[in-house]
């Protein structure tokens, strides 16, 4: 039973990986990677890594792939011709490189002479890889790695916002269209809730160009509406 599940999941993982490389449209590549990740989660379950399998499905196949799908839809996943430019032999070189790498990795792992590599592993208890055990290890023995990982995630989130924000650009036309009657009721720069979310009081059109360079107005144009 375990052998059958292994061959099913392994075939799915390898087919998904091949689909990522071979699909012409990036959108289909992302979908192939989702199936690859789900098959890999099944392999993790066969290896008694329950928590890692659950995190793989929820975090990877869920959240990260949704991010991918959004970016592919935003950038516009146009078809690209497979392989490098016609005339260059890079495709053949990459295939040869992949085959050589596979053979070399097999030699390095299977020929390593590890005594347990032809067994099913050492017998483990029922709690091996459970969320309780992983959580206890993360909060006691690997606390430093855990905190560093959370700090790294914070840096990545801030970096993504800085990279992907809109700088200046088309906001001048947007500002003209947002002149509403509510602006007459709100005095300027009094800290209203509308100012906090970026709906500023417009200046009159005659002075707008002069006022557009005031420092307190500059950051709002960066907001990504």
């Amino acid at each position: 039973m375990a052998a059958l599940l292994f061959f099913l999941a392994g075939t799915g993982a390898i087919a998904g990986a091949a689909g990522v490389v071979a699909m012409r449209n990036p959108f289909y590549s992302v979908l192939a990677l989702v199936s690859h990740l789900l098959s890999l989660a099944a392999l993790f379950l066969l290896l008694h890594a329950e928590f890692v399998a659950a995190a793989q499905v929820i975090v990877y196949a869920g959240a990260v792939m949704v991010l991918y799908v959004f970016v592919v839809a935003y950038v516009g996943g146009q078809d690209e011709p497979l392989g490098p430019r016609p005339g260059s032999g890079l495709r053949v070189v990459s295939l040869v490189f992949g085959a050589a790498l596979f053979i070399e990795l097999c030699i390095a792992t299977l020929g390593s002479g590890l005594s347990l590599i032809d067994t099913r592993g050492t017998p483990v208890g029922a709690g091996f890889g459970s969320p309780g055990q992983i959580g206890e290890l993360l909060l006691t023995r690997y606390l430093l790695a855990f905190e560093l990982a959370s700090f790294l995630l914070l840096i990545a989130a801030v970096g993504a916002v800085v990279l992907a924000r809109r700088r200046g650009g088309v906001s001048a036309a947007d500002d003209q269209a947002r002149y509403s009657a509510m602006d007459l009721l709100r005095p300027a720069n009094t800290g209203t809730m509308a100012e906090a979310v970026g709906v500023r009081r417009r200046l009159p059109p005659a002075t707008e160009r002069a006022g557009a360079t005031e420092p307190e107005q500059a950051p709002v144009t960066d907001a990504d509406r």
């Binding site: 990036p26 590549s29 790498l101 592993g121 995630l153 992907a164």
Partner: protein
Amino acid sequence: MDIGWYLTVSALIFAIGAAGVLTRRSPLVILLCIELMLNAANLALIAFARMHGDPDGQIFAIIVMVVAACEVTIGLGIIVAMHRRRLPINVDELRELQG
């Protein structure tokens, strides 16, 4: 199944990912192929953790997943910034990082 079979699957996925990084030109697909290689490494780590009966390898795999998520976030942010600046989404034409 023996641990060696899992390591073989891991090596094959890693080789497919490496060949994909060399072959494809869209940075989106190159990021996906890097994900493939990281996942192959995760599979090898978890197989070795099972082999020794020691959950340390699973902790290592979780940290690798965190780093992969950070790499994806920054990479997709760079791709969105490239798209905003009307740069071509093609690594053959983008040879330098300035402006």
